[in-house]
């Protein structure tokens, strides 16, 4: 079947302008604060993305701004844009560039994972766009090579704290003496957490028997797990995201590993394999069992709108968005420098704890330890810095 050449030429002639025109931005005006949200709505951590979007929209709605119609915070008109980064580094940088160049945003809330957020901060800092990440915990988000990135902020604690909390809990509460660590070699989040856990665990007198890496797309962990099974560690530290951890956990149990699983905030998802990970502990940003009124009010509002209990992702997104909203209310402007100044100096009462930034722009906050038990997350302890 020979397709006439003319048909191919016409097809290309029609598709090309359509692609070009689809990139056209709308009308621009000087006083509107344009806010973008970058979050992994699809991909391997899609529950993170959905929760983040929910938290973001709830905070904006409570301030009087909706996605379809925009709104006003004080005197400042606000418009919202949402983009999906698929938890992929290249996609994240692409959508950030798109938000900045086409939608002309002055502030971005996002992203969720450190591996995507860190490359995006390069783009936002070069373009002088404010970026507040809700949950990226790796220190490199705000400080890289010893230099503070002035436009990058976050609503969560950082991994040096998180890894240390995990290690201390393993040593003091679980009385563990040995541990093995498995991490993703191309993910700054897992690399950071593993290193901080290892340092704190060994400083506290424990011994890390094996620290092994895998590639992001690996699905077969039989080799390294057989190795670890032979060493019989008390703890197997798996600081990756929920779907990877579920896969590794399943294969670990199949190889006869009886260690207690431990991990970080990447575990916080309804799609974690609760059965396989039962008995495991993870460090997180908040617990829905926290009795403080600010937490319970937020949970009530979230339940009313989304019919679900918010996870830490939603809570931190709510907090990060409210940080921005608070800065806007304070400065009554969409000027990036004024907002940056306000964010650097504010003390903010967030749902996940009071946020006061240190010199590096990192909040000093408490962490919660949760356990996976009988199909749900159970609050175990709260650890202050």
């Amino acid at each position: 079947m020979r397709i006439p050449r003319i048909v191919a030429v016409v097809a290309i002639a029609v598709l090309l302008p359509a692609v070009v025109l689809s990139g056209c931005a709308g009308a621009k005006d000087k006083t509107t604060l344009r806010v973008g949200l970058i979050t992994p709505l699809t991909g391997d951590v899609k529950t993170f993305g959905e929760s983040t979007k929910n938290g973001f929209l709830l905070a904006m709605e409570q301030a009087g701004v909706t996605l379809d119609k925009g709104g006003k915070i004080g005197n400042v008109p606000v418009k919202l844009f949402i983009q999906d980064d698929r938890n992929d580094v290249t996609e994240g940088v692409n959508v950030a560039t798109k938000l900045i160049n086409e939608n002309k945003v002055q502030a971005i809330i996002g992203s969720v994972t450190s591996k995507v957020t860190i490359p995006i901060t390069k783009v936002t800092n070069d373009a002088k766009v404010i970026q507040i990440t809700s949950t990226a915990t790796n220190p490199k988000v705000t400080v890289e090579d010893g230099k503070r990135k002035p436009y990058a902020f976050r609503a969560c604690f950082i991994d040096p704290f998180q890894g240390t909390v995990g290690a201390k809990f393993a040593l003091d509460n679980l009385h563990a003496k040995t541990a093995a660590i498995l991490y993703d070699q191309s993910n700054d989040y897992t690399i950071g957490l593993s290193n901080y856990f290892k340092d704190a665990f060994e400083k506290g007198g424990g011994k890390v028997l094996k620290m092994a890496a895998y590639a992001t797309n690996d699905t077969d962990f039989s080799a390294v797990l057989t190795d670890i099974a032979k060493l019989k560690p008390d703890i197997l530290y798996l600081p990756d995201y929920y779907q990877k951890v579920s896969l590794i956990g399943k294969q670990a149990r199949a190889r006869g590993i009886k260690a207690i699983f431990m991990g970080g905030d990447g575990w916080d998802s309804s799609e974690l394999d609760f059965k396989v990970m039962d008995g495991g502990y993870f460090t997180n940003h908040y617990s829905p069992d926290d009795p403080r009124p600010i937490v319970q009010d937020f949970i009530k509002a979230y339940k009313a709108k989304y019919n679900a209990v918010p996870d830490a992702l939603a809570t931190l997104a709510y907090d990060a968005t409210n940080m921005l909203i608070s800065a806007v209310k304070q400065t009554q402007s969409n000027d990036v420098e004024k907002l940056r100044e306000a964010l650097s100096t504010m003390t903010f009462h967030a749902v996940s704890g009071d946020i006061k930034n240190d010199a590096d722009g990192n909040p000093i906050k408490a962490a919660a330890i949760l356990q996976i038990k009988d199909g749900k997350q159970v609050f175990v302890a709260s650890v202050n810095p």
């Binding site: 391997d44 077969d220 039989s222």
Partner: protein
């Protein structure tokens, strides 16, 4: 020592799944001298069809597997008819580029929301994991199922290729298209049949892979496809026993390098093998070296 045996068993499981995919590569290359880059994605489609039939359409497992093999056989034949047959007598590179295009089409088309969706899906186990321990050597029932299934399929394929008329026709066509045509063989039909067979085996590989490593996503076929391709080249591309041998070796290399060298370098080592084979013995372990006499 015991631990080494456990690692070898791990490598065997992986190698057997690679064997199913490698066979498709090698048969297609043997018959039309084309490296079918879309083959890894047929593997992915097989895994997804089996997943959807058990989870969404609630079919029993023993119906889901032949169904996915059938669907992939049809897919393979369709790809051949639409993307490769028009280019059969064009420059080899055209068909190669077409194969890459088909591969990308299946991957990104599959990741569209109304097809498979871009998210990872967790495959429910059709049966619970049972582990046996003999003097420190641990074997799971999944490993046994993979072993038995693949051995049956490989034996079946070997029988088909060496003892049946259609197998003889396949071998004739891979030798020389025109001579086969002169002998009354319908070359087009045999080529379609080869694609169907290779794709059905890839589908079986997909189902077994998703049983052992229960997470699937539209891009899952890339890495196993490349490793199986390396296995086929290692064994001698175009040579069926070569593909089986190459796949078993690749499985061992994959697992043993992760266990004893570094789990970070396992992919690098696997593909270094590809480069070394092409530099040292391009015809592979079981392939025939030397120029073709006319």
């Amino acid at each position: 020592m015991i631990e080494a045996i456990n690692q070898i068993l791990n490598g065997l499981q992986l190698g057997l799944v690679y064997a199913l995919i490698a066979l498709g590569y090698t048969m297609v290359y043997g018959i039309i001298r084309l490296i079918n880059f879309a083959h890894g994605d047929v593997f992915m489609v097989g895994a997804f069809v089996a997943f959807l039939s058990t989870v969404d359409w609630h079919l029993p497992f023993w119906v889901a597997v032949p169904l996915s093999m059938l669907v992939c056989a049809v897919l393979g034949v369709t790809i051949e008819r639409l993307a490769y047959r028009p280019l059969r007598y064009a420059a080899r590179i055209a068909a190669l580029i077409s194969a890459i295009g088909v591969s990308l089409l299946i991957e990104y088309g599959g990741s569209l929301k109304f097809v498979f969706g871009p998210n990872y899906r967790v495959v429910p186990q059709p049966f619970s994991i049972v582990q046996w321990n003999f003097a420190g050597i641990s074997v799971s029932n999944i490993q046994l199922i993979v072993l038995v299934t693949v051995v049956i399929l490989l034996a079946g394929l070997q029988y088909l290729v060496t003892r049946t008329r259609i197998g003889k026709a396949m071998r004739a066509v891979s030798f020389d298209h025109d001579a086969a045509r002169l002998m009354g063989i319908n070359v087009d039909a045999i080529i379609s049949y080869t694609f169907a067979l290779g794709s059905a085996l890839a589908a079986a590989g997909g189902v077994l892979y998703s049983t052992a490593y229960p997470q699937i996503n539209p891009f899952m076929g890339i890495m196993p496809g490349l490793k199986a391709f390396t296995a086929a080249v290692l064994g001698g591309i175009g040579n069926i026993p070569g593909a089986m041998l190459g796949a078993l070796i690749m499985g061992q290399v994959d697992v043993l390098s992760a266990a004893y060298i570094s789990s970070q370098l396992r992919d690098a080592i696997a593909f270094t093998i590809l480069i070394l084979v092409l530099l040292v013995k391009p015809s592979g372990l079981l392939g025939k070296s030397g120029p073709e006499k006319v």
